[in-house]
Amino acid sequence: MQSRNPLLYLALWLLLSLLTLFPIYWLFVISVKPAVDLFTTPSVILDTVYWKNYVNVIGNETLRGYMINSLIISTSNAFLVTGLAFLACYALSRFDLAGKENIFFWTITNRMAPAAVFLLPFYLLFTQVFTFGDWKLYDTKIGMILLYCTFNLPFAIWTLRPTIDGIPKELDEAATVDGASTWQVISEVIFPLARPGLAVTLILTWVFAWNEFLLAATLTSFNARTITTGLSEYVTTTGTEWGAMAAIAMITLIPALIIFAVVQRHIVAGLTFGAVKE
């Protein structure tokens, strides 16, 4: 199979990469065009760059609030989830707990159910059941942070388990013999060794939380509204402001792009990891 010219593959992949990248390029093109230019002949070539859409979006106090909400929610959620999953995986890996494999499988099933199915119960619980006098869980950041655990925590446990299992038990035992407490074993032996796995988990859960839309759109109204729902609001208003919409979409995309550029190698490994269990 080595007989064919590698240049042929190179050309094929150049074409495929163009197809992959074009939609994102087009998003950028729309985001840097003034409204009057949008309805002229669509053109791939960018002659002028008009940053006003971005200025408007960042200058908009409501949207800025949404961005800050998104940052707070996804960052808190990612740290919470990674921390809890780290402890849970350590417990599952090192202790002889009754029915632990069932518990492990049960945590995974939480990710299988379609989010749309739980919209209604979550909405009812958040507005009518999880209340405290006048205070309700609906439209609070803490509510969203806890809620995102339902899909991020199973994922984190699933990806971290092999990492923790892969750290030899002898290391714990040696440390215990030397007089280390369980907490010292975790913080001084396991944590440093699990750090690469923890970093990948942290980053991926962060991206998932940042990207989430459906639950945020249903369970928040203003105080905890995220940027993805802010983006969707530009479509319901009959989509007159295409430029602004593209600019928000671009801004929503940027953190993920940066993370991707910095740690793509690990992300690729992490993704294949979750899917191929063999």
Binding site: A116, V117, L253
Partner: protein, 293 residues
């Protein structure tokens, strides 16, 4: 040795959070599904009405078509992604300059938020500002209008999903292909097998577990697609792309018919679980059978 209490304490927060946000909603939605409840309707209180909600559901054509659309979407999308993903994974097996670079680019769509994917494709396909309708018009004289043409809108949701998720298939199948031993291929070549025979009798049986696992993951995700389609077509034109998730969100919520909505949620959850279970059985059964030989 160490007391297990410590272990349980470490697991406790995880179990508590997943219990409160995983099990309670499920019990609650089941409870509501057996009641007539519309807080803004004529009788705002919850009234027990047995299986009436479920009886109504069987004859609800809107709901049934949304199920059919979802299935059709999942079928076309997952089938194309597996075929294309396999081809691309094979392409990545070849030696050529810049392979790692192209793999990185190919992975990019995976991290794009579904809602952004929907926006991007909307910007590309909306008549008068999108590049795609313009090119189709000037090259082929074809008028693409996803606001009016139901088939085109449906096809576009599938194409969008292929753009977004084929990389995942490529990555998982590439990982499987890389892990394959070399000997069976060499042996087959010595025995004079042609490429098609090698594919059907050597490659495919060996990577079948990986393919099934990928189908499993992709199918589960495809069945619950909401964000992208909501952004691209909002379920239109008419109800041509109103998938189940969209149906719950667009029809059930505004009507505040909570009892009936709960019944829909229960049924959709049931269908999803049954399908996952069937796939899981197919996956495991295959593996068990292999072991006995």
């Amino acid at each position: 040795m160490r007391p297990n209490t410590v272990g349980w304490l470490m697991l406790a927060p995880t179990i508590a959070i997943l219990g409160i946000f995983g099990i309670i909603p499920f019990i609650y939605v089941l409870y509501v599904s057996f009641h007539q409840w519309n807080p803004f309707g004529a009788s705002p209180d919850m009234i027990y009405n047995g299986a009436n909600n479920f009886r109504r559901l069987v004859f609800d054509t809107e709901f049934l078509t949304s199920i059919a659309f979802t299935m059709k979407f999942a079928f076309f999308a997952v089938l194309s992604e597996i075929a294309l993903g396999y081809l691309l994974a094979q392409l990545f097996m070849k030696e050529f300059p810049g392979r790692g670079f192209f793999r990185t680019i190919h992975t990019l769509p995976l991290i794009v938020a579904p809602i952004v994917v929907g926006s991007v494709w909307r910007l590309m396909t909306t008549p008068s500002i999108g590049i795609i309708p313009y090119l189709l018009k000037s090259w082929f004289g074809y008028d693409l209008n996803i606001g009016r043409d139901a088939t085109a809108a449906f096809a576009l949701t599938v194409i969008m999903d292929i753009w977004h998720w084929t990389p995942l298939v490529t990555l998982t199948l590439l990982a499987a292909l890389l892990a394959l031993p070399k000997e069976p291929f060499e042996q087959a070549q010595i025995d004079g097998a042609n490429r098609r025979q090698i594919f059907w009798h050597v490659t495919l049986p060996m990577i079948r577990p990986a393919i099934l696992a990928t189908v499993f993951i992709r199918l589960m995700d495809a069945l619950r697609t909401v964000d992208e389609v909501w952004m691209l077509t909002s379920g239109g034109p008419g109800a041509a792309t109103r998938f189940v998730g969209l149906h719950i969100w667009k029809i059930v919520f505004p009507k505040t018919d909570y009892g009936y909505g709960a019944a829909i949620s229960v049924i959709v959850l049931y269908l999803t679980l049954v399908m996952c279970w069937l796939l899981y059985v197919a996956l495991v059964a295959r593996r068990e059978r292999k072991r006995t030989f």
